[in-house]
Structure formats: C-alpha cells, structure tokens
C-alpha cells in the first residue's frame, strides 16, 4: 500500500503534486487500461459458457447456473429463484419446462411439483471459470497438431537462422576477401524487400524445389534474413582481431575460431536475433498461408484464422484457442522483456 501511495504522491517539485505529474500518471493509467484491457477481456470471456458468450449485453465475469442433484432424477437440475403466487421467493430446481410454464421442485422436498410461469423465475448463478471451452476447442480445432507445427517451424527456423546468419556475419566482419562489399551491399539493399513484394516468384521457387505443402518450405526461405546478418556483423566488428590472430598462432582452425571464440563472444547479439526470430516465426501468417493448403500442416496462426473465418463463428471456442495461441509468446515476453526491449531499442528493428 505504501508503495502505491508513494507512487501516487510522487512529485516533480519538492512537495506539491505538480499538475503535469498528475496528467502523466493519468495518461499512463489510461494507457495501461487501453493496452491490457482488450487482452484481459478476451481471457475472461474465454472462460464463459457457450450460452453466456452470445448473451447480450455481455456481463463482466463468467457466470454459470447452479445445478443440484436431486434424488429420483438422473441429470443434475438447474436452480432458479422462483416468485410464487403468494409473492414469496423460493430457491427451486427445474424439472422440465412446458411452453410458458416451468415445473419446479424444492430440493428439500422432491415429491411436490410447483408450477410457475417462466417469467416468474430467475436462474441462480455463480461465477465459474470453466475450462470447457478449452477442452472442446482442443478437440475440435486440432490444436495439438497446429501447436506442434508452430513449435517445429519456430525452433528449426530459429536454429537455422542463427547458424547461417552468424557464419555469414563472421565472414563479412573478420575476413578480407574479394566480393565482400558487393555481397554486403546486395544483402543490405534487400532489407527493404518484404516477402509480400515477391510472393509469386518465391512461390514458384518453392514449387519447383518441391517444398509446396511442406513445413520446410516455410522454414528455409526466411532463414537468410539480411537484418540478422547485419545485426550480427555490426556486433562482431567490435570483437578484437587479436583474439583470432592468437588463436591461429595456437593452431586453431577457422571453424574452431568461429565456434569457440566468435560465437561465445557474440552471445548478446545472438540472443537478440534469437528472440526476434522466435517472434517472427511464431506470428508469421502470410507465407505459411500461401505455402500450406493441407490443414494437418497448418501452423497455429493459419489454423486460427481459418477456424474463425468459417461461416458459423463459434466464439466460445475461438476465444479459448486465441488465448492458447498467445500464451507462449506472453511467457517469452514475461521472462525476457528486458532483453527484448533493449534489443529493439538498440537495433531499431522488429
């Protein structure tokens, strides 16, 4: 509590809370609501029952009608607060509904049936965070398959990206060879060529190589990122050449120098690139959407988009699946946010 009050009463001047301070914190609080609110609303909604999800106006928390098991009835019965003819309100369980009339019983006295018009009863509800949507969604959505595809693509692509980019960056930063500048300039100039510009020809290449409808077809093309090479090269330039020279004198091969001197020293830059690669690959949509047409190969993003564009939108399932899709990246963010933010701030890329 003291931290909160400290925070609230922090001032720009010595003692008084300056008006600009108040506006600052007002802006930040508002920003927090706008940034987190929608995500929170999605998460809360994902615990609602399928009936509750389509209810209008929506309620803040997930409610569920209370059920009671009564002797003599196989199924649990829904509980209602029924207003009787004499004006008294009693908590009763509904046995069946016939037209506009509802037949209810008292859980304490299941023999006697009380008849009440349906507009004279209110369901008894309680807040329940139900996992039913998640269970149903995982079955009907083939979640495990899509998750596996996404994880496979993300991990493989990240390993491949780190390997080929770091090797190229090593060559471009530590060797003087003919064509070095040409290679570097061509790579940098394609920094601005997004995949959306070369969709048709890159699809032709993939088809000719035979990678259409394969996961490798979405792993490999993006692996030689010019951004990655550039980032790693700039970092490796700061590694002193003397280290390499002395290693050579000690008889180390070039491969050993790359593996045991360059890679460990470039670890901070590799970490930044790794995080970026995970983000790129996990969230990638357009390219997987074009390469993959068989649903068992879909990644989570493609699967989710296809799922939600089906004619009958089943919101309760989509909500749960969306939460599951964003969970991994949220965890990555929670643990690595410091590295991510400083990484982006220093390199200016995403």
């Amino acid at each position: 509590m003291s931290a909160v009050s400290n925070y609230l009463t922090r001032t720009r001047g010595k003692n008084s809370l300056h008006v600009t301070d108040m506006l600052t914190y007002l802006y930040l609080s508002l920003g927090t609501i706008i940034m987190f609110g929608p995500v929170l609303w999605l998460i809360i909604s994902s615990f609602k029952s399928s009936g509750e999800v389509v209810k209008f106006p929506p309620r803040l928390l997930p409610y569920q009608q209370e059920m009671v098991t009564i002797e003599g009835y196989d199924e649990p019965l829904p509980l209602f607060n029924a207003t009787l003819e004499d004006g008294s309100v009693r908590q009763l369980a509904q046995v069946r509904r016939i037209g506009l009339e509802s037949q209810l019983v008292d859980p304490a006295n299941p023999e006697e049936i009380i008849k009440v018009p349906i507009d004279q009863r209110e369901p008894v509800e309680q807040v329940v965070f139900s996992l039913a949507n998640y269970q149903e969604g995982i079955q009907s959505f083939n979640f495990a398959r899509y998750l596996w595809n996404s994880v496979f693509v993300t991990v493989m692509a990240t390993i491949l990206t780190l390997l080929v980019n770091s090797m190229a960056a090593f060559a471009l930063s530590k060797y003087k060879f003919r064509g070095r500048n040409t290679i570097f300039i061509i790579m940098i100039s394609t920094l601005m060529v997004p995949i959306s510009v070369i969709l048709v020809p890159i699809f032709l290449v993939i088809t000719q190589v035979g990678w259409n409808n394969t996961l490798i077809g979405i792993i490999v093309p993006g692996a030689a990122t010019p951004t990655g090479v550039f980032l790693l090269r700039q970092y490796m330039l700061t590694i002193p050449d003397e280290l390499i020279d002395s290693a050579r004198i000690d008889g180390a091969s070039e491969w050993r120098i790359y593996l045991q001197i360059i890679l460990p020293l470039a670890r901070p830059a590799l970490a930044v690139l790794m995080i970026f690669s995970i983000m790129w690959r996990w969230n990638d949509f357009l390219w997987p959407k074009i390469v993959l047409t068989q649903s068992e190969l879909f990644t989570l993003q493609v699967g989710l988009q296809t799922f939600q564009s089906d004619l009958t939108i089943q919101w309760h399932l989509i909500l749960a699946m969306t939460v599951l899709t964003m969970l991994p990246i949220t965890f990555v963010f929670a643990f690595l946010q410091k590295y991510i933010t400083t990484g982006i701030a220093t390199t200016g890329m995403k």
């Binding site: 600052t24 209008f56 106006p57 929506p58 997004p194 959306s196 048709v200 890159i202 969230n283």
Partner: protein
C-alpha cells in the same frame, strides 16, 4: 539447460562438432585460410540468393508475361500489358472507371490508411515516449505495458478486437447500457476503416515508442540544464533541443512505419477480410487475392502490382532520406 538435458545433448553436440571439424579442417587445408570466408558465407548466400534475390528478378519475368499458367516456360511475353491493364482507367480518381477497379480501390484504401495510420502512430508514439522519458516511477513496467501488444500475432490482435467490436460485443454492450443503439462497427464502411487504423496503431505503437524513447534518452541532459539556466521554458526546450536532436530517430520511425503501413495485410485480413465490400481491401490483399485466392490465378497482374508497390516503397524511402539531408 538442466544437467539431465545436457547429459543427453552434449555427446550428440560433440559428435556433430567433431564431424564438422574434419570437414572444415580438410577444406581449410585445401583452399587456405582466406578462402574459408567463402565457405562461411556460402549457406546464407545460397538461401538468400535462391529465395530472395532470384525471386526479385523472377518477379519482372512474371510481370511481363501473361496467361494463368504458373511455369515461366508456358507464359507468353506480353510486354507491358499487365501494367497497361492496371492503369487502364477512364479517370484515375474514380475506381469504377478502371478496368482493374479492385486494384484502384486497394490503392486508395491503402493510401488513406497509410496517411492516417502513420501520422496517428508517430504522434501517439512520440507523446508516449516523452511521457515515459519523464521522471516517473516504474518506467520499466509502463514501457512493457505499451510494448506488450507488439508481440501478439496479427491474427490474435484482430480476434481480440473483433470480439470487442462485434455486434454483441463489449462496446455495443456499453452503448446499450448508456441507452444508445448498437453500432455495426465491423460492417459499416466508415467504422471499419476507422477501427482498422486504431487497431494497428494499438498493436504497433509500443515498438515505435521504444525506438523514440531510446532516441530521447540519448539526448544529453546537460543541454536541458543549460537551457533552464538560460531561462528557457519546457516548451522552448522541447522545440529547440528535443525535436532537432530527435530528428534522426523520427526519420527511422517514419520510414519504418510507412513501409509497414503500405504492406499492411494480416491484421486487416483477419479483422474484416477487406470488407465490408472492398472498404478495407489493401494492396497486399489484392495481390494475394488475384495471385493465390481466386480460381483463375493471375500471376502476371499480381507481380505487376507488387512491382508498383515496391516502387512506391523505394521512392518513399529515398524521399524521406533526401528531405532529411536537405534540411541538415
């Protein structure tokens, strides 16, 4: 890594390294130290050449050949016909008079989106960065707050907002509670365009805020102290110190956000699918639609459109850089 995992993986790793040692070692003896550079650069260069550089060149072949055939050998040379078709317009201001009316709708939608989205993005990001640069508590926390949506996938972002804005969603619930009628945010042309801009700003602003914040923090505080001694107000300091010194960072932000805005696709695709009608159809979706999603795949037109888009991107970038040089 846990000890158990490393016990499993380290022998495998050692074996791989040993094998590579033999390969690379003999290679090095064969070609010499300096030429090893080519070996290191080769894998990246191969992937880059085959999947980026080669397609860039191929794109022109597609743009100047016709028919719906996919293989280049089957496609007849048609000269500039694909481009002519795209520019075949009665009046360039009226998409209905154009042969490729969808292309021009996409162009106008994208242009409108770019103008509003980029300006809104720059203003909000700059303002947020300035706020975060003040002496505030928990700066790290608030920085992450604004940054968090950047990590969410475009599909997830679109679904989060679709859920809020749909007919029976949260916003309509609030409107209903206040006694207003429901608003069809997703199927009304004006609202759909409006929300597409807002959502993408929501999703990406944290990224640009972060870059601007880094730029702000690089400005030496001694400058502000000196200005204060000279009697400058906060506004003076902002205009005379912050803005000029932030110019390079601002340029990066404007170029990056511009380039990304021109190529916007997935958020809108999952949010409105270009609808209602063609109200939020963008250039990349147009290219995707005619090249990959329609029964008769018109690769030539798609390539021609993508080359035009790339041209716009290059020109925009060069112009920004030129203006900046001019003013310095």
């Amino acid at each position: 890594m846990t000890r158990a995992a490393s016990r499993i993986f380290s022998p495998i790793y050692d074996i791989i390294v040993a094998i590579l040692d033999v390969i690379f070692g003999s290679l090095q003896r064969l070609i010499g130290i300096t030429n090893m550079a080519y070996v290191f650069v080769l894998p990246n260069l191969l992937i880059f050449g085959i999947f980026i550089l080669f397609p860039v060149i191929l794109n022109f072949f597609y743009a100047f050949t016709g028919s719906t055939e996919f293989l280049l050998a089957d496609r007849p040379y048609v000269g500039t016909q694909n481009f002519d078709q795209l520019f075949d317009c009665g009046s360039f201001l009226d998409p209905n008079s154009c042969r490729e009316d969808l292309f021009w709708r996409a162009v106008f939608n994208t242009a409108g989106y770019v103008v509003f989205q980029v300006s809104l993005m720059v203003i909000i990001s700059l303002f947020t960065a300035l706020i975060l640069n003040r002496k505030i508590k928990a700066r790290g926390f608030f920085r992450s707050v604004f940054f968090y949506p950047v990590l969410l996938s475009p599909i997830v972002v679109a679904l989060i907002w679709k859920w809020i804005l749909q007919e029976n969603g949260l916003f309509n619930g609030v409107l209903d509670g206040l006694g207003y009628d429901k608003v069809m945010f997703l199927t009304n042309v004006g609202w759909a365009r409006f929300w597409v801009i807002i959502i993408s700003v929501w999703a990406y602003m944290g990224f640009y805020t972060l870059i601007l914040l880094a730029g702000l923090q690089a400005i030496p505080t001694t400058l502000y102290e000196a200005a204060q001694i000279d009697g400058a107000t906060g506004w003076d300091a902002f205009r005379k110190i912050t803005l000029p010194l932030l110019r390079p960072t601002m340029l990066v932000v404007i170029i990056l956000s511009l380039i990304r805005a021109v190529q916007i696709f997935d958020i809108i695709f999952a949010f409105t699918r270009g609808g209602p009608g063609t109200a939020t159809l963008t250039l990349v979706q147009y290219i995707y639609d005619i090249g990959f999603a329609s029964p008769a795949r018109r690769f030539g037109t798609a390539s021609a459109a993508s080359i035009l888009m790339a041209g716009v991107l290059v020109v925009a970038t060069l112009m920004q850089l030129y203006i900046n040089r001019e003013e310095n």
